[in-house]
Symmetry: C2
Subunit: 429 residues, 2 copies
């Protein structure tokens, strides 16, 4: 950099990259007036240089070789919006080693090899910032990294996938079934043609790993995260939850046990009480709910995806890194030990379980016997329907996941139980 002029090399020019370049162009004067820093995008690496683009770029800005952008002496700071693990990892490592701060929106990369890159940034003494990698435009990473550095955080609950929240909102408000709601989401561009990464909880799981790492200061990777998606959630489950005063949401849950330090990170559909702030997060919006010992409950709400919201988060990080660069300083996440992961089997929750049963004498007795033998205490039970349509719904007191899984296995073996329905965990009550 020369003086307060910071030259940015952008790797990738898709949805987010193009929005970022546009935003820098529009806001550069206002940013300079406020911070004294003049931002300029000097290079943009793209796969296809000749494709038409919505953003106007000066001659020589678009290039094909991403590595050349990283190495270019006319690039002071690198923005990585390619996605995926390689070559993003290699490019970021090279930029950091060359003393260039990096801003990335790449959740997959950070959820797998984040700790390695954070350490590389610390060694090099430069910033590696990634607000946009979790919950798009919502400044949750900065809140956890900075505002809450001294706060003992016990639990983070996140609605961090817009696709599944959109689908569940349609199922809840319109009574749609899963496949109809998914089709609508695909038609409106909220879901991919292959929706697996979203609906089966992989995307939320990657974000949960990053959140847990920063919230607890301990290394959690995507492979540590238990995940269950929403494809098994039925319109009936949602209607039943609603009658009982709950809304079904796909939650990313990060917990740390205050005494043992063990960390549990999981993604699954959950029943959230109707008055809980997460219950009113509708459509494709995201929200992250934090429970701290001193600060109490906090929630951050906003757009978790989309070119412009994500680009806004990238720009916030770029300004931060540019200001630090001009002052010869940088932020640090500290170093992480490997987290001790508590397996899903050892977590505790309240559960809702529904069973289709034969309506005849002794059924309730045999079913409750299964719960009793597995040390699961019932808080409420109700029967719906009669004869061949009889359904029993149970809500348990707090119980251990492994006990519930044992119940489910044994219930499946009972003659009187025709079908074991969804097992929904109650969270936030």
């Amino acid at each position: 950099m020369t003086g307060n002029h910071v030259r940015i090399g952008v790797l990738g020019c898709g949805n987010v990259g193009a929005a970022f370049v546009q935003l820098v162009t529009e806001q550069a004067a206002a940013i300079e007036a406020r911070t004294g820093i003049r931002l300029e995008v000097t290079r943009v690496a793209v796969r296809n240089v000749s494709r038409e683009r919505e953003v106007d770029l000066a001659a020589g800005v678009l290039v094909r070789d991403a590595r050349a952008v990283v190495d270019d002496p006319e690039v002071d700071l690198v923005v990585e919006v390619i996605g995926g693990i390689e070559p993003a990892r290699e490019l970021i490592a090279a930029a950091l080693a060359a003393g260039k701060p990096v801003v990335t929106a790449n959740k997959e990369l950070l959820a797998n090899v984040g700790a390695e890159l954070y350490a590389a940034a610390d060694t090099a003494g430069v910033d590696l910032l990634f607000e946009a990698a979790v919950a798009g435009g919502i400044p949750i990473v900065r809140a956890l990294r900075e505002s809450l550095r001294g706060e003992p955080i016990r639990r983070v609950l996140g609605i961090v996938n817009g696709t599944t929240n959109f689908i569940l909102t349609k199922m809840t408000e319109q009574g749609a079934d899963y496949s109809a709601a998914l089709s609508e989401a695909q038609r409106l561009g909220f879901a991919e043609r292959d929706p697996t990464a979203d609906v089966e909880g992989f995307d939320a799981g990657a974000k949960a790993a990053i959140i847990a790492t920063i919230a607890f200061g301990t290394k959690v990777v995507a492979g540590d995260v238990y995940h269950e998606g929403i494809s098994g959630v039925t319109a009936g489950d949602i209607a039943m939850a609603s009658r009982l005063g709950f809304v079904v949401k796909l939650l990313a849950i990060c917990e740390q046990d205050a005494s043992t330090g063990e960390v549990s990170v999981r993604v699954h559909p959950a029943m959230v009480p109707i008055h809980h702030p997460l219950a009113s997060v509708r459509e494709s919006y995201n929200a992250v709910f934090i429970e701290g010992e001193a600060v109490g409950s906090l929630m951050f709400y906003g757009r978790g995806a989309g070119g412009m919201p994500t680009a806004s988060a990238v720009l916030g990080d770029v300004i931060d890194a540019a200001v630090n660069l001009s002052q010869g300083t940088h932020g640090s996440l500290g170093s992480f030990g490997r987290a001790v992961i508590r397996p899903i089997d050892e977590t505790n929750s309240e559960y809702l379980l529904s069973l289709d049963v034969a309506d005849r004498p002794g059924v309730l007795h045999s079913v409750t016997g299964v719960f009793a033998r597995n040390d699961v205490s019932i808080r409420a039970a109700e029967q719906e329907g009669l004869r061949d349509d009889a359904r029993l719904v149970f809500i348990t007191h707090t119980a251990k996941e492994s006990s519930l899984q044992n119940c489910v296995r044994e219930l499946r073996d009972l003659d009187t139980v025709k079908r074991v329905g969804s097992l929904l965990r109650v969270i936030g009550a």
Copy 2:
């Protein structure tokens, strides 16, 4: 400071001060493990040294002379939690001039002479941080100062007073009238014996001035803020709003006109659509809703008051300032010009207005004539009751505040209008 040992002088040891001292004691080891900085409270200035306190302090820590704490060579960083304008201003100015970073929770001070103190901090090259001054434990100041520095913010809507939100929640959910809800709030400790500062909007107005200053980068003081409280809101207004799909909230509203740069800052009861995220902020919780051009809608929710949540925000700032101190750097708000304030008369909104009228032919005609003459267009009208209990309710299209005020004056002069009820502005639709 010596090495990474940062010694803190605390001015004031009330609710927040005592909670802060306790939190530092409990969290110091964890903070050192994460940041490398060892925090220690070395001095606490109090009016009455001999009074019993809940926090344990080493001999020599409690002193009576606040100025001596600021000047003490064993104090590297000053936390001001006395409140009020003097002597807080003088003490903070002295600390900054001595090169000591300051963390304050003092909204009254910042809403009146903030810009002067921000400039003093910049001149001295040290941090002046104040997360706890707005919305307690919610990290909204950092989000505006840092994450959103490059974001063109158009509007900020805040529920920033817990007392009034508690009262309005009771009125909404239990149908309580204002005085009963106020009594309950007082009994539970959510309202002061003299509730004026809260219920008439002064407290929210001070926070609005600080929010507007940071959000728009332009100097706004408490005296610039128009405010109306909730003491005139009736159970009937709330019930009517509810029938129409709205919730009544006391909002702090900060807007900037994108073309003229004019700023409007005001506090008044408003009708918020039931599906708006602010509508579900209940009890004494606070929330700040931000509308940005690129990022879209963001909301931050949490505890706006209370010793521990506020102390948590103070501690976040203290860690930030301590890390900066150890790196020889500091943050900056930039310098502010004076805002051009748009008077309330020139703001635009949709309005709800209720009138008690005589139920006889021609009433509606004479009333609608008043609206028409003042260029206010009616979106919906309904009549409730008959004869002596007849009430007309109007919702307008977007209109100018001065036009509505003219309507109210003229309606009061009509023979057929017995009483002009609340004028409620519709916000967030």
